[in-house]
Amino acid sequence: MDEIVVIGLSVLTSVAILLLTSLGLAVVFGLMRIVNMAHGEFLMIGAFTTTVAVRSLELPIWLAILCAPIVCGFVGALVELAFIRPLYGRRLVDTLLATFALSLILYQVAINIFGTAPPGIGTPSGWIEIGRYTVSYYSLFLPVAALVITALLYVLFKFTRYGLLARAAAHNPDMASVLGVEVRRVNLVTFALGCALAGLGGGLLSPMVAVSPGVGQTYIGQAFMTVITGGPAFLLGTLSASVLLGGISNIVSQLFTTLWGLTALLVTAIVLVRLLPNGISGSWSRQL
């Protein structure tokens, strides 16, 4: 019985990690259709922001995590102005290649600053005992955080004026601008929001994983697969895909090894793409 509870909690944590690393991409790629190959590096920047804030500035961990989205949102806005904006309207491949180049540059810059294996921060202490097992509070906190963030995003895009404008500007920029939406500014804000979300994900993850310049590359593939399998409903679709892919990969990992867990994630995603080319939410009537 205890074992089942512990396995269940572990699945929940995996799902949460997948969701947290994918939400930013869900906004930038799922909603705006910008292929942001540097998404992983935004996770990395968020994780480093938190690490530095804890280690050098000696901020409490909660405050340090909140610094991550602010820094990443700012960097994201700069990136949009410098590289994304000139490429709107060009072939999708161009944006893809430009952000890919950016990802390489940010990776090397991080190595130059932090080295390849910088010291990390510990997981916040505190755990509960379930029978013979202990589970840290933090790994229980992650799923809660992921769900709260998703819910807040849902409210933001569904019920606020900005949310409506952002969706309009993403779906049909020409029509939106004719109707008086300042598409450029709205897109800037939405892109920065996506980057901030990536940063927040990285910040939340930083106490759990080894933060290195290559940390983004570990997650970007999974994040893209999650958003693609999620389909057009970029929030709830990504949530469903995280549950499905994260669940499968965690269970396979526990049965065999992490390696097989990753492979299972990939194979499931590819089979799903073949069966449901429009993603899990392809036939839903909701748009979020």
Partner: protein
């Protein structure tokens, strides 16, 4: 065989080789081989590596530049080829003393992997960007997977995969007489690269090259002409994967070593940069791009060591922002303009051949006295829903008793949906479609085209980047299962004009001329049923008159169905009219019957019915 027939055969072969561009690569290979004794060992080693990379770049050029499929996976196939070669060589070399079979196995395994990935993405109808991301995700996950194979349990036969550290001391290339030395390996690499280059040229200068160009320019038109686009995409993707796999095998043999870094993001970036620098569509450019980029990064490494990702990133960013077409093509274009040496009308890929119109078949259309058996379309209780909205409710129609049928109806009546269901671009929600007595309801678009269905879309759907002649040639050579021969190209040009513009790029034509070109492709396709979706849209009065005449002429040998808004145009056709309204057939009859019908007039004038 006498000596003279030998020489003529040889002469013919030489001419073919020169025309298809096999001569220069052969000369280049021989020249390099002759000069190779002059090269130092380190140069030979470096150039062998560049050739392995060049083969990899060649594979991306084929897939991306020529066929328009952007794949991040080429270096994954390269890596799989490299690993397979290592595993196979460890197991085969001790027994046979040769590793050529290992290279062959590497190509096959890479091709198999490519085929699986391609099948999922192309047959899942996944979009272009998705393919890029799926291939990249696969590459990254392979990186993670191969990095975690360190334990002794990860063993295939005698080969240990070695995890992050990779597999050292792999046997090199061997023909059964021991491993080749540096010089021998270099000579082998030169011959291999030359052979693969010639193979690529062979593919592209034939009919297949035309098909690939068509797919790059306009997939939908290719399907409407009857080409199996997904199959051909899978085919070239597989060829690209096999070539990348061979490159990977050569890479492993070069360093007698392979590790997971072949699956890294840097490597993925490198391939793209090589191809972009060399020019996406140029086969030679693949090798030139490798040489240029590798030389630059070697030099840069001397100034700032170990900053490869940074340098690559800056190069890639500069390429995308400043030279999206490639550096080598930009330079050649600049040189071209400076010397103004040759006037090239088409700024597309050089490898596209000039098609020779087939004149060996006599068209039936020449004796206009005996019309061909007309086509026949039957829609039976056809319906289509998009999400919650009903585009077509319940339509039963038969076309084919007359030679021309007109369909009218206000916006949103379901006219275009009906065409989409007949051509197979939309999936039927209910009911069925019959074409020439054949149930085609579940048939993919290209199969319907092969059974004699042609369609002219509202917005001209042509191959903008190809010449007028190539556009027509693709339609002439389209695969078909019906008993109608292809008309000679001259007949097509006689009907649509444009003969003097046949070498012009289709994108340079005016809107009206593009409409004519599309009609010309329909004539060349020679289907039994022709659908015209608003053919008069955007045409001048004079052009409309010509179009009516042309449609009447075509109706002698084809069943023509025309959707049109322009009432004068419909009247001039003098055909029975079907009026659709809100997804249903509203009226049937002659033009005069409908135009005197009060309800019809009310709908068209927006008045309330019965008012």
């Amino acid at each position: 065989m006498t000596a003279s027939t030998w020489t003529t055969t040889l002469g013919r072969w030489t001419r073919v080789a020169v025309r298809r561009g096999f001569l220069w690569p052969t000369i280049a290979v021989v020249a390099v081989l002759l000069l190779s004794p002059l090269l130092s060992t380190s140069t030979e080693l470096k150039w062998t590596l560049w050739l392995a990379f060049g083969i990899l770049a060649l594979s991306l050029t084929l897939v991306w530049g020529i066929s328009g499929i952007f794949s991040f996976g080429q270096n994954a196939f390269f890596g799989i080829g490299g690993y397979t070669f290592a595993v196979a060589a460890f197991n085969i070399y001790p027994a046979t003393g040769e590793t050529l079979s290992a290279l062959l196995i590497a190509a096959c395994v890479a091709a198999l992997f490519t085929a699986l990935l391609g099948y999922v993405t192309f047959y899942g109808r996944v979009g272009d960007v998705y393919l890029a991301i799926v291939t990249l995700a696969v590459t990254l996950i392979l990186y993670t997977v191969m990095s975690s194979t360190a334990g002794p349990e990860y063993r295939i036969g005698k080969a240990y995969l070695g995890g992050f550290n990779g597999m050292p001391s792999v046997p090199g290339i061997a023909f059964g007489t021991g491993e080749l030395g540096y010089g021998g390996l270099f000579a082998f690499a030169v011959c291999l690269a030359g052979a693969l280059y010639i193979f690529a040229r062979f593919l592209l200068t034939g009919q297949y090259g035309q098909i690939l160009a068509g797919i790059r320019e306009n997939e939908m038109r290719m399907e409407l002409l009857g080409y199996n686009v997904r199959f051909h995409k899978l085919g070239i993707f597989l060829v690209g994967g096999a070539i990348a796999g061979i490159g990977g095998g050569l890479f492993t043999a070069w360093g007698t070593f392979i590790n997971p870094s072949v699956f890294s993001l840097q490597q993925a970036a490198l391939v793209v940069i090589w191809v972009m620098v060399g020019g996406r569509g140029s086969l030679v450019g693949a090798f030139v791009g490798v040489a240029v980029v590798q030389w630059i990064s070697d030099q840069a490494d001397k100034i700032v060591a170990q900053q490869t990702p940074l340098i690559l990133g800056i190069m890639l960013l500069a390429m995308v922002l400043a030279f999206p077409g490639g550096i080598v093509p930009a330079i050649t274009r600049w040189l071209d303009r400076t010397w103004n040496s040759s006037k090239r009308k088409l700024d597309t890929i050089d490898v596209a051949p000039t098609p020779t119109p087939r004149t060996d078949t006599k068209p039936e259309s020449e004796n206009e006295g005996t019309p061909l058996p007309s086509g026949h379309i039957m829609a039976h209780h056809l319906g289509k829903r998009f999400g919650g909205s009903v585009a077509l409710d319940d339509v039963t129609l038969e076309f084919g008793q007359h030679n021309i049928h007109a369909i009218v109806g206000p916006n949103g009546a379901g006219k275009s949906t009906l065409f989409g269901l007949i051509s197979g671009q939309h999936k039927v929600t209910k009911g069925d479609v019959e074409l020439n007595g054949l149930d085609v309801t579940r048939m993919p678009t290209h199969q319907r085209a092969r059974h004699g269905l042609g369609i002219k879309l509202q917005v001209p759907s042509i191959f903008l980047g190809l010449s007028v002649q190539q556009n027509i040639a693709l339609a002439l050579n389209a695969p078909r299962k019906y008993k109608r021969t292809r008309p000679p190209a001259t007949t097509v040009f006689a009907m649509i004009g444009l003969l003097e513009k046949k070498h012009e790029a289709a994108s340079n034509l005016s809107h009206g001329e593009q409409q004519w070109l599309e009609i010309g492709m329909l004539i060349a396709q020679n289907p039994s049923v022709m659908l015209f979706d608003e053919p008069a849209a955007g045409m001048t009065q004079e052009e409309r008159k010509r179009t009516v005449e042309l449609i009447k002429k075509l109706s002698i040998h084809h069943t023509v169905i025309v959707v049109e808004h322009d009432m004068a145009f419909v009247r001039a056709l003098g055909a029975p009219v079907v009026m659709l309204y809100r997804g249903n057939v509203f009226r049937h009859g002659s033009f005069d019957e409908l135009s005197n019908d009060n309800d019809v007039r009310n709908i068209y004038l927006g008045r309330k019915r019965g008012a």
